[in-house]
């Protein structure tokens, strides 16, 4: 029997396809597919009417809005600043560069609760930075804006680490070619460098968004966690679980899963479109 998968042209001539594909599939099944489908199966026990009753509940809808909008906002902020940081790290040499470079990874390593508590402390009304921002009417601790702040923190390394290698590897001859054709630095950046980096930037921002959507630990410490105002979906799920409302929790979980999957899928398609004709 032939394996029902197509090999990519010119690639995949290495032996061991069956073995590596088998391993990948079982690994993904054990880690992702089986646990997640069991969630879906569990939620499927309830009638559709009950399901919609749960997820269309006002408080749940509000939580969804808060979760999505803050994750999107944080991803957009990281899109901009993550790019700038990646640019600085890839393009310039300066004293302490290695330290800055290492700092970028800290959000990966720090326990999210620690991150949340630190952010909340520093940005609270009497906190080190909160004190400075307060006169401007900006209050980030224990507020909805605090959620975005926590998600920015969590998502930053995703953008920087995806974009940085692309900037580092970009061919200097491209910029020289553009300059020899009369482009000024701004045109070179806008027309040559940025389009080359954009696909990676979108990937990084998407990962940051996905991570932000599911983030729990840091957010609950900096947010005021008020229903309708600053209550995120993961928190709502935990609350349902604590009330032994397993079906309710699974309904919300499945909904989040579906929406996240659709968004990831769309970005992947977008990515493919952006990369059209660019391989080589």
């Amino acid at each position: 029997m032939r394996f029902p998968f197509k090999l990519r042209n010119g690639k995949g001539k290495m032996p061991g396809f069956g073995l590596s594909m088998g391993l990948s599939l079982s690994y993904l099944s054990f880690l992702i597919l089986i646990p997640i489908s069991s969630l879906v199966v569990y939620a499927a026990k309830m009638p559709l009417k009950d399901y919609f009753g749960i997820i269309l509940d006002e408080r749940v809808v509000a939580a969804f809005k808060i979760s999505f909008f803050s994750a999107i906002a944080a991803a957009l902020v990281n899109f901009v600043f993550g790019f700038i940081i990646a640019w600085v790290l890839a393009r310039y040499d300066f004293v302490g560069k290695r330290i800055v470079d290492a700092c970028v990874d800290l959000p990966f390593a720090v326990p999210t609760a620690v991150a949340g508590i630190s952010l909340a402390t520093v940005f609270s009304a009497n906190g080190l930075l909160g004190k400075i921002l307060l006169p401007f009417g900006i209050s980030l601790g224990y507020s909805t804006a605090g959620i975005v702040l926590a998600l920015i923190f969590i998502g930053l390394p995703f953008v920087v680490r995806t974009v940085q290698p692309i900037i580092e590897e970009s061919d200097a001859a491209l910029e020289e070619a553009a300059a020899s054709l009369g482009a000024n630095w701004f045109q070179i950046f806008v027309k040559v460098i940025f389009p080359a980096v954009l696909p990676a930037l979108v990937t990084g921002a998407t990962m940051a968004f996905a991570r932000g959507l599911g983030e729990y630990g840091s957010v609950i410490f900096i947010s005021s966690n008020m229903p309708y105002v600053s209550e995120i979906v993961p928190l709502l799920i935990i609350k349902k679980l604590m009330q032994f409302d397993y079906l309710g929790a699974s309904a919300i979980g499945v909904t989040m899963l579906i929406i996240a999957f659709i968004m990831m899928f769309v970005t992947n398609i977008l990515q493919k479109y952006m990369l059209k004709g660019r391989q080589s």
């Binding site: 020289e176 020899s180 054709l181 009369g182 482009a183 059209k276 004709g277």
Partner: protein
């Protein structure tokens, strides 16, 4: 006079890349910078383009000092060894780039840009390929796109860095004959870098042989082959296929007469 290069020096750290280079490159001709790898020929080409700054010395185009001008203001067409095509743009956009980035006052309108690009596309024989992306082209086609892109800005000087280096032997031969014919049509002062003696002899009007940052000899292909100035030149040219070159002057039609004779 085309390009005047006077007393150019360039060091990279302690490495002397070019030492006191002076040469005049004739207008409207093709000149080859020929030499072994690491001899400084590419550095010289990049200095002419303004991509590299000399430590001292002067570069003039048609008597006009270019030494302190940046590459973007020099009006040079530069063809890179690996073409450096913009991968996110199709052939049309690649060629149009130099026109689109012009300051608004001197930027041609849509129609004019379209016309010049299509003229260049015809010149490099890529009709029907304008919507392709660089990754969808063969090496020879990419090379021609790079050339058309460089010509789009109507450069006063065309500079080519190992223009045939990345191509396979057959395509290389075809393309260099084609380039020779093309040049006979457009007559832009051209300089190309190569380490391939055959290529230099076949394509150029003048050959400048460079070694260790110095010019060993400059002259017509016949002159350098028949009367090598020193043992290095004699040795460097000795391993070409047919050492004696007798090439007719170009005809009006610009056909290159492939009548080199072996010994």
């Amino acid at each position: 006079m085309g390009i005047e290069i006077r007393n150019i020096n360039k060091k990279f750290g302690n490495f002397v890349a070019l030492s006191d280079i002076s040469i005049a490159i004739p207008k409207g001709e093709i000149t080859a910078l020929l030499g072994p790898s690491g001899c400084g020929k590419t550095t010289l080409l990049r200095i002419i383009a303004g991509l590299e700054t000399p430590d001292s010395g002067v570069i003039k185009f048609s008597g006009e000092d270019q030494t302190n001008k940046r590459v973007k203001d020099r009006k040079v067409g530069f063809v890179f060894q690996h073409y450096a095509l913009f991968r996110h743009m199709n052939v049309f956009e690649n060629i149009a780039f130099g026109l689109r980035v012009r300051p608004r006052k001197i930027r041609p309108d849509r129609k004019a840009i379209h016309e010049s690009v299509m003229r260049l596309v015809a010149l490099v024989q890529l009709e029907g390929y304008v919507n392709r992306f660089p990754s969808e082209l063969s090496g020879g086609q990419r090379q021609r796109v790079a050339l058309a892109r460089a010509l789009a800005v109507e450069p006063s000087v065309l500079l080519l860095d190992e223009p045939f280096g990345a191509l396979d032997a057959k395509v290389r031969k075809e393309l260099r004959r084609w380039l020779r014919r093309l040049h006979d049509e457009i007559h832009v002062t051209s300089v190309f870098v190569t380490h391939d003696q055959d290529e230099a002899l076949e394509v150029s009007d003048t050959i400048v042989i460079v070694n260790k940052g110095k010019i060993e000899q400059a002259g017509s292909p016949e002159a350098v082959c028949d009367f090598p100035a020193n043992p290095f030149v004699a040795d460097f040219l000795s391993d070409i296929n047919r050492p004696i070159v007798t090439r007719k002057k170009k005809t009006l039609a610009g056909v290159i007469n492939d009548d080199r004779q072996g010994i």
